[in-house]
Symmetry: C2
Subunit: 448 residues, 2 copies
C-alpha cells in the first residue's frame, strides 16, 4: 500500500470518503514529506502549516459526521505564488516592492476550497511568471531546472510534497515544468478557468493550469474549476462536460501527429515521441499525420509581442516606481513591451486569431494532436527555465493541452508527450490522455 | 393618402402585403422622387436603377402569387457605400485606389435582401467613414452639412428618396447625421449586427446602424439584422427579442436624464431637450436625474485613441501604397494611429471597458437615458460633419442608442433627442423610443 504522501488527489479523496484516511493524517504525512525533501527541492515560498492542520481537523470532523464539502474533501494542495489566498502574501516571485497581502482568495482557489481542498501554502514562481528563475530545483536531479514559470507546482507534485497544485501558463509555464518534472500538466482552453485573483502576465494568453500525477486528478480538478466568472471578463460560458466520466473508460483515440514539430526536437526526443506514437498505435489508437497551417509561420513572434505589450501595460504603474528592482529578463521584456506600437500589437493579435481559426479544422479531425512537450529534457543549471517553443502555440491559440510523462532518458530525466485538443473540447482531450496514460504506464519516481 | 415615396418601410410592407401597392410602382415612385431631389441633395453614389426595377418586378410576381419573402417584401432601401453588395463597386467614399467590386453581399445586406428588401443602390459616406466630407447636402438646407459619416443614408431617408437605409457608426456616424437630417437613427449594441462585408474603421467600435423615419421601421429592420454571424467574430449570441412586438404598445418609460451632458450643448439645444423632457413627463414618463460615473472623464480621448490605432492597423497595407491619395483628415488620423504605443492602446481599451462596466448599473435603472443627440443643429457649410461628442460615449461602450427627431429650430433645422439603453436591451430602448415618438409627434418635412 502506497505511503500517504504518495496518494493521488483522487485516491486520497476516495480513501477519506471511505473513512480509511483522515485529512489530518494526510496533511501530517505531507508536512513530514516536505520536511524531508524540501531542503533539496526548495519549492515552497510559504508553508502554511498551522492553517493547513487546523483546516484538516475541521475536514476530519465533517468526514466523521459523513458531511463532505465536495470532490476534494480533505485533499491538500499547493498554490503557485501568483494566486491570491486570503490573508497570505502574494509575492509573485518578485521583491518586496511587489508583495501584497491578499484580501480574498483567487476565484480558482475559492472553488477548490469550497470543494474541500486544504491549502498547504504557496510554492515558487519565476518572477512575475516570466523567465527569471526561482531557486527551485528539479526533483529528478537538483542540478537541473524544474522549468518555469510554475517551478514550485511542478517540483512539489513531482517530489510528492502535494498531490495537486495550481499553476499558470502564458507561453509554456504549465506544460514545460510538468514535462521537466515528470508530472501531468493540464492547461485548459483560454477562458475555461477564471483568472480572477491571479497576478496577470498577459491577459489574452494567461491560463490557470493544473499539476497532478494522473489524468484523473486533472479531470477531477478541472470539473471544479471550469466555468464562467463575473470577475473575469475573459472567462467563458462555453458548455461544460463531466470530465471525470469522460476519462473513466476511454476508447482508443484518433491522434494527429504534428510531424513538423517533431523535427524541432532533439533527435533523441523525436525518436522517443515516434516510439511512443507507435506504441499507442499498436495498442489501438488511430494515428495519422496532421499538418500545421501556413499561419504557424511567425506565430511565436506574434504571441511574444502580445505578451510583452500586455505585460508592459499591466506593469506600467509598478514599473514606473520600481524598474531597477525588477529582475533582468522581465525588465527587458517590459522595456521592449513599452516600445511596441499599437499597430504591431493589433497585427500580432490578428495573426494569433488567424492561426487559431486555421487550427479549428485540424483539431476537429482528431481527439488529440501529438507533439513533444519540450524539445529536450530539463536543461542543466538553474539559470534558464528552458525553451517553451512546443507549448507556446497552444497558449497563443488558447487551445487545451496536456503534458503526460512518457519515459525517463538515460540520464534519469523525465520525457513527456504533449496532447492538444480543440477549443473547449477538454472532455475529448482528457479522454484521449487517459487512454494514452494507461498504454504508456509511466511509473518512475524521482529518488529524493 | 401619402404619396408612395412618403411611405415608411413598415407602411410600404403592409400595403404590398395587402395588394394595395406593387413593389414596382413603389420603386418607380422613389426613382422619380430621386430624379426630382437628388440634384439638390447629392446623396447617391450609384443608383442601381435597372437591378432595382428588375428585382421589384420579381417581388411583384411573388406578391401577386401570395408568396412573400419576408418582412420587407418589396421595400426599397439604400446602402452606405461601405457595405458590400454583390457585383457593385464599394468605393468607401475614397479615391479609385480604394475601390473594389464586391463578390458577395455584406451579411446585413444579405439578410435584408432575404427578407424581400430591394436595394436601390449606394449612398454616400465620408471617406472611409471618417471625417473628410462627402458632397451630400442637408435636405433641410443645402448650405448645411447632413452630418457624417453616414451622410447619404441620413439625407436619402430625410429627402424621401428611400424609406430605409443602412449606415454605420464608429463614433457618431449614425445618430449625428440622423439628428442633423431629422430622421430616426438606431445604433444597436456592439456585436448585435454582423459587420461582415462592411469596410471597417475600428472593429472594437464599429456598429451597423439603421436609418428610417419611425421607431417601428427601426424595430422591424433590427429584427431582421440582429443575431450572431460566424463571419464576424465580434458578433454576439446574446438573446434576441421581438422588437416589433416590443414597440407596438409601449408603456410610459422610466427615463434617466444625463444632465451633465446637457450642459455641453448650446443653451438653445439644452432648453429644447429640457422642454422635451418636461413634455414626456407631463404625458406620463417617469423622469429622474442620472449621473455619469467618474470614468467618463477621459473617455473621449480613450475611444479616439482606440479608433486611430485600429484604423491604422486595418489601413496599413493600403496606406503603405497610397498615403498621398488619402484625404487629409483620415490621413492625419492614420499617421497618428501609427505613432501610438501598444501600452497606450491597451490602457485606452481598459478605460473604455471600465466605463462600460460603470454604466451597467446606470442603464439598468432606466428604460432609457436621455441626452441631446448633438450639441446644436447641423452646422453651416460642408467642410465639417459636426461634433460627435454626445454620440461617442455610446459607441465607445457599445451601448444601444437611438436618435429621435424632436423639433425644428427657428432657422428650420431639425432638433433631436438621444435615448441610450442597456447592453443588448434594444427591446426596452425601442419601446421607450416608440412611446416618446408618439408624445413628441414630430411631423415636419424638409421642403425640397
Amino acid at each position: 500500500m502506497a505511503a500517504l504522501h504518495e496518494l493521488t488527489a483522487a485516491e486520497a479523496a476516495r480513501r477519506i470518503r471511505a473513512g480509511a484516511v483522515s485529512p489530518s493524517n494526510l496533511v501530517a504525512a505531507l508536512l513530514k514529506r516536505i520536511d524531508a525533501v524540501e531542503p533539496a527541492v526548495q519549492a515552497w515560498v510559504h508553508l502554511d502549516r498551522d492553517a493547513a492542520a487546523r483546516v484538516a481537523v475541521q475536514r476530519d470532523i465533517e468526514a466523521r459526521e459523513g458531511r463532505f464539502m465536495g470532490a476534494l474533501h480533505g485533499v491538500p494542495l499547493a498554490l503557485k505564488d501568483i494566486f491570491d489566498a486570503a490573508g497570505l502574501v502574494t509575492t509573485a516571485g518578485a521583491g518586496p516592492f511587489a508583495h501584497r497581502t491578499a484580501a480574498a482568495d483567487a476565484a480558482s482557489v475559492a472553488r477548490l476550497r469550497a470543494a474541500g481542498g486544504v491549502v498547504l501554502g504557496k510554492v515558487t514562481t519565476t518572477a512575475f511568471a516570466f523567465l527569471d528563475p526561482s531557486p527551485t530545483r528539479n526533483p529528478w536531479n537538483p542540478e537541473h531546472t524544474p522549468g518555469g514559470s510554475s517551478s514550485g507546482p511542478a517540483a512539489a507534485v513531482a517530489a510528492r510534497m502535494a498531490p495537486l497544485a495550481l499553476g499558470s501558463q502564458t507561453v509554456g509555464s504549465v506544460l514545460r515544468p510538468a514535462a521537466y518534472c515528470g508530472v501531468v500538466g493540464l492547461k485548459p482552453t483560454h477562458g475555461r478557468i477564471s483568472t480572477a485573483g491571479v497576478v496577470p502576465l498577459s491577459w489574452s494568453l494567461d491560463h490557470v493550469g493544473i499539476f497532478a500525477r494522473t489524468v484523473e486528478d486533472c479531470a477531477l480538478t478541472l470539473g471544479l474549476l471550469a466555468g464562467p466568472d463575473a470577475a473575469d471578463p475573459l472567462s467563458s460560458a462555453a458548455p461544460l462536460d463531466d470530465y471525470v466520466i469522460a476519462t473513466a473508460d476511454p476508447a482508443p483515440p484518433r491522434i494527429g501527429v504534428l510531424r513538423a514539430l517533431l523535427e524541432r526536437a532533439t533527435p533523441e526526443m523525436a525518436t522517443h515521441v515516434e516510439a511512443t506514437a507507435r506504441a499507442l498505435e499498436k495498442s489501438g489508437a488511430f494515428l495519422a499525420d496532421a499538418a500545421l497551417p501556413s499561419s504557424f509561420t511567425g506565430l511565436h513572434d506574434a504571441g511574444g509581442l502580445v505578451m510583452r505589450a500586455e505585460a508592459a501595460a499591466w506593469h506600467a504603474p509598478l514599473f514606473a516606481r520600481h524598474a531597477a528592482e525588477y529582475p533582468p529578463k522581465i525588465r527587458e521584456a517590459l522595456e521592449a513591451g513599452r516600445a511596441l506600437s499599437a499597430v504591431d500589437f493589433l497585427a500580432a493579435q490578428q495573426h494569433r486569431r488567424a492561426f487559431r481559426a486555421d487550427m479549428a479544422p485540424v483539431t476537429a479531425r482528431f481527439d488529440a494532436l501529438l507533439t513533444p512537450t519540450v524539445g529536450a529534457p530539463a536543461p542543466k543549471g538553474l539559470g534558464s527555465t528552458g525553451d517553451p517553443y512546443f507549448c507556446a502555440p497552444w497558449s497563443f491559440t488558447g487551445l487545451p493541452a496536456i503534458a503526460l510523462p512518457s519515459g525517463v532518458d538515460p540520464a534519469g530525466l523525465p520525457l513527456s508527450i504533449q496532447l492538444v485538443g480543440s477549443a473547449f473540447g477538454e472532455a475529448r482531450l482528457l479522454a484521449a490522455a487517459a487512454w494514452c496514460e494507461r498504454v504508456i504506464g509511466f511509473d518512475a519516481v524521482p529518488r529524493l
